[in-house]
C-alpha cells in the first residue's frame, strides 16, 4: 500500500517476490504463469515456483514436469517445482558445507522421516529455498513468483516458521527462519496476490482471509485478481445484441445474468477492500475467456496483463 494511485500490475512489477494464493479453482497457476511470462517479455529475469505433487505451471509453459530443477522456459523465464526433500539436501550440503556428512549420513527414507517428524521443517525448507531463489541465486532473478497452495494451506505455510521458533528449534534453522521472515515481511520487496472469482462464496472466503493474513503473517497484500470476469463492456455489447437475435435470446440472457453477478460482486469487493484500507486500483480483472489454451502464449499474457 505504498502508493495509493498505482495499479496492482504496477505494484507487482516492482516486487522481488510475489506470493500467489486463493481458493481452489480460482486460477492461481494461470495468474502465476501468465504474469511471469508477461514480466519476462518486459525484460525481467523471472522464476516461477510451484511446490506440488502434480505440476501445473510447467504444463502451462508447455513443458514436461520439471521437478526440483530450475528449468528454462524461454529467455528470461524459468520454472521449478520445489520438493522439500531436495531442499533439505541442498541446505545441508550448500549452506552447512556438510556434503560429506550428507553422503555418509542422510539417506532418502531417513530424510523423509525427519521432514515428517520435525514440525515445521519441511515448510522452513520450502520457504528457505524461495529465499535462496530471491537473494542468493546467481545470476540473480529480478522477480520470483510463487504459485502457492490454496488459502488454508498457504496460511499454514506462512505461519509455520514462527511457530517452529517457539518449539525450540535452534542452530542454523533459526537464521533460516529469520532471514525468510525479513524478506517476506519487507513490503518493498514482497507481496501477496489473491486470486478469486466473481462468485459470492468464493469472494467472501477470500475476503475473510485478508485480515488473518495481514495480522498473523505481517506480509503485505498487494491486491486481488478476479478471474472469469464479465465487465460493463460485455454488458453494453449484450444489450446491443438483443435486437434481431431471437434464437440466441436465452444465451444472451444467461450472459447478462453473468454480468450482473460479476459487477455486483465486484462492487462488494471494492467496498470491502476500501474498508480494509486498500485502494480500488488494487483489483485486477481477467475476463472470462471461455477456454484457456493449454500453453500460455505471449499474446495471451499481454491480453491478461496489459493495462
Amino acid at each position: 500500500m505504498t502508493n495509493l494511485n498505482s495499479s496492482l500490475v504496477d505494484e507487482l512489477s516492482h516486487k522481488k517476490l510475489i506470493l500467489i494464493s486463493g481458493k481452489g479453482g480460482t486460477g492461481k497457476s494461470l495468474v502465476a504463469a501468465s504474469f511471469g511470462r508477461f514480466m519476462a517479455s518486459r525484460g525481467k529475469r523471472v522464476l516461477v515456483i510451484e511446490s506440488c505433487a502434480r505440476e501445473q505451471v510447467s504444463a502451462l509453459f508447455g513443458l514436461d514436469p520439471t521437478g526440483h530443477s530450475e528449468t528454462k522456459v524461454l529467455d528470461n523465464l524459468y520454472c521449478i517445482n520445489i520438493q522439500p526433500r531436495y531442499c533439505f539436501e541442498e541446505y545441508v550440503i550448500l549452506h552447512l558445507g556438510l556434503a560429506q556428512l550428507y553422503e555418509r549420513v542422510f539417506r532418502n527414507k531417513i530424510v523423509k522421516s525427519f521432514l515428517d517428524a520435525m514440525p515445521g521443517l519441511a515448510e522452513t525448507m520450502l520457504l528457505g529455498r524461495i529465499f535462496h531463489a530471491c537473494q542468493l541465486t546467481e545470476p540473480a532473478y529480478d522477480m520470483v513468483i510463487f504459485d502457492g497452495p490454496a488459502l488454508g494451506h498457504f496460511f499454514s505455510l506462512l505461519t509455520t516458521p514462527q511457530a517452529v521458533l517457539s518449539t525450540g528449534i535452534g542452530g542454523p534453522l533459526i537464521r533460516e527462519v529469520e532471514r525468510v521472515h525479513a524478506l517476506f515481511t519487507d513490503s518493498k520487496r514482497t507481496g501477496i496476490v489473491l486470486a478469486s472469482l466473481a462468485e459470492k462464496l468464493v469472494m467472501s472466503e477470500t475476503l475473510e482471509f485478508i485480515p488473518k493474513i495481514l495480522q498473523d503473517t505481517k506480509i503485505s497484500i498487494l491486491g486481488v485478481v478476479v478471474n472469469r470476469f464479465f465487465s460493463e463492456q460485455d454488458q453494453n455489447a449484450l444489450y446491443r445484441l438483443r435486437e434481431g437475435n431471437d434464437r440466441l435470446q436465452p444465451v444472451i440472457s444467461y450472459l447478462e445474468q453473468k454480468v450482473q453477478t460479476s459487477l455486483s460482486i465486484y462492487t462488494e469487493l471494492m467496498d470491502e477492500l476500501t474498508q480494509l484500507g486498500f485502494s480500488k486500483k488494487r483489483v485486477h480483472t481477467i475476463p472470462e475467456l471461455g477456454t484457456i489454451p493449454q500453453v500460455i502464449s505471449l499474446e495471451l499474457a499481454h491480453m491478461l496483463w496489459d493495462q
Partner: protein, 363 residues
C-alpha cells in the same frame, strides 16, 4: 449420462466417498447427496471438510466431531429420513485419539501439553483424510445410519491413505523410532554426554541442522506418543476393510475444465490402481442443457465484435464437450462407470432451500 440411477445406487450403499480437486463443488455435492438420501427416508451421517462457511452456518453444521442433527424443512421428507453432520476438525480428533490410546491420563496430558504438540499433531495426524477415516469408523460403529457420506479434502496429497490407512504419516518408518530416536532419547535422559547409539552420526548431523534441543524435544515426544501410534495401527486395519467393501461407493467430482479434469484423471487412476472401484463421475458446473443446444449450432464470429462473450461461451461449450468425452473415454473401459452432469447454478448455494433446489436439479 444416467438419469434416475443415483438414488437407487445411494440406497444400495452403506458408505459413499466423494473425491475431487479443490473448487469443483465436492463439498456441496456431498451435502446434496446426503439430502437426496434423507429425502427418500434414509438416516444419513455426513462427514464434511471445511464446507463454505455460509453454507455451514445456514445448515447449522458446526465445527466439531460430534454429529449434529441438521433441521430439515421439506414437506416431501419421507419416513424417518434425517441427516446428522459433523465437520472434521483435525486437532480435535487428534486430541481424542491421544486420550483414547495413551496408556494413562497423565501421559495423555503430557503429550497434549508438550511444546511441540500443536505443531506436531498436524504432522502426526497426517493428511486430513486419515482423520476423516478415523471418524468414519466411529460413525459406522455407532450403528445409527443407513448411509454415511464422506467428503474428503481436496486432492493434493491424493490417496496415499487409501493404500496405507494403517500407517500414520509422519512416522513412515517405525524403525526410525526404535533404532534411532528411542536410544537417543534414553541416552540424553541419562545425561550421557555422547550419544552412544548406532545412529550417532545421523543424530549428530541432524542436530547440526535443527539444534540439539529441538531434536531432544522431538525424541521425547515420539517416545510419549508411541502407544497412541500403536492404537492408530489397529484402527487402520478396520478402516481398510470398510473402504474395500462393496457397500462402499466412490464418486469423483470434477468440473468439465482441463485443470480439474487433469486432477480427476489423476485421482481416478490412483483409485483404480489401489484396487478400489470408481463408481461415478459427477461433472459439476456444466453449461445448462438448454444453452448447449443453442450453442451447438452457433457460428462463431457471426455476431461481430459485440458477439465476443457469445463466442467465448461457444468456446467454453466446445472445450467442455471435449473434456467430458475425453474423461469418460479414459474410464469407460470399466463398463459399469456411471456419470452425470450437473448444471451450474445461477444463485450461490448457501441455504437449505438452495440445497433442495440443487438436489432436485440432477440425478
Amino acid at each position: 449420462m444416467q438419469d434416475g440411477v443415483l438414488l437407487p445406487w445411494l440406497q444400495s450403499k452403506k458408505v459413499v466417498v466423494l473425491l475431487g480437486a479443490g473448487g469443483v463443488g465436492k463439498t456441496t455435492c456431498s451435502i446434496t447427496v446426503a439430502f437426496k438420501a434423507a429425502l427418500a427416508g434414509a438416516k444419513v451421517g455426513l462427514l464434511s471438510i471445511d464446507p463454505a462457511k455460509r453454507l455451514a452456518a445456514a445448515l447449522g453444521i458446526s465445527l466439531g466431531r460430534h454429529p449434529k442433527r441438521i433441521p430439515l424443512h421439506n414437506s416431501q421428507l419421507r419416513g424417518e429420513g434425517f441427516i446428522e453432520a459433523a465437520m472434521i476438525d483435525q486437532k480435535g480428533i487428534f486430541d481424542q485419539m491421544v486420550y483414547k490410546h495413551a496408556p494413562n491420563s497423565q501421559t495423555a496430558e503430557k503429550i497434549i501439553a508438550h511444546p511441540i504438540y500443536d505443531a506436531a499433531s498436524t504432522k502426526l495426524a497426517g493428511p486430513l483424510e486419515y482423520m476423516a477415516l478415523a471418524e468414519l469408523q466411529n460413525m459406522i460403529e455407532a450403528n445409527r445410519y443407513d448411509l454415511i457420506v464422506l467428503d474428503t479434502p481436496p486432492d493434493t496429497h491424493a490417496l496415499e491413505f487409501l493404500s496405507r490407512p494403517n500407517v500414520l504419516e509422519g512416522f513412515m518408518e517405525n524403525r526410525v523410532m526404535n533404532w534411532l530416536i528411542k536410544p537417543f532419547h534414553m541416552a540424553s535422559r541419562m545425561g550421557v554426554g555422547r550419544i552412544l547409539t548406532a545412529g550417532e552420526k545421523l543424530m549428530g548431523g541432524m542436530a547440526k541442522v535443527t539444534g540439539l534441543h529441538a531434536l531432544r524435544l522431538v525424541a521425547e515426544f515420539l517416545v510419549l506418543i508411541q502407544q497412541v501410534i500403536d492404537g492408530f495401527h489397529l484402527s487402520g486395519e478396520k478402516i481398510l476393510s470398510t473402504l474395500t467393501q462393496k457397500s462402499t461407493g466412490y464418486i469423483l467430482v470434477t468440473t468439465p475444465q482441463p485443470m480439474a479434469a487433469a486432477a480427476c484423471t489423476n485421482l481416478g487412476k490412483q483409485l483404480i490402481r489401489l484396487g478400489f472401484h470408481l463408481d461415478w463421475i459427477f461433472f459439476n458446473r456444466c453449461l445448462p442443457e438448454h444453452l448447449a443446444k443453442i450453442l451447438e449450432s452457433y457460428e462463431p464470429y457471426s455476431l461481430g465484435d459485440d458477439g465476443l462473450s457469445v463466442d467465448r461461451l461457444h468456446a467454453r461449450y466446445q472445450a467442455e464437450k471435449k473434456v467430458t468425452s475425453d474423461l469418460l473415454s479414459l474410464f469407460e473401459g470399466d463398463k459399469s462407470l456411471l456419470s452425470l452432469s450437473i448444471d451450474e447454478t445461477i444463485l450461490p448455494i448457501d441455504s437449505e432451500t438452495a440445497i433442495w433446489d440443487f438436489a432436485n436439479s440432477f440425478g
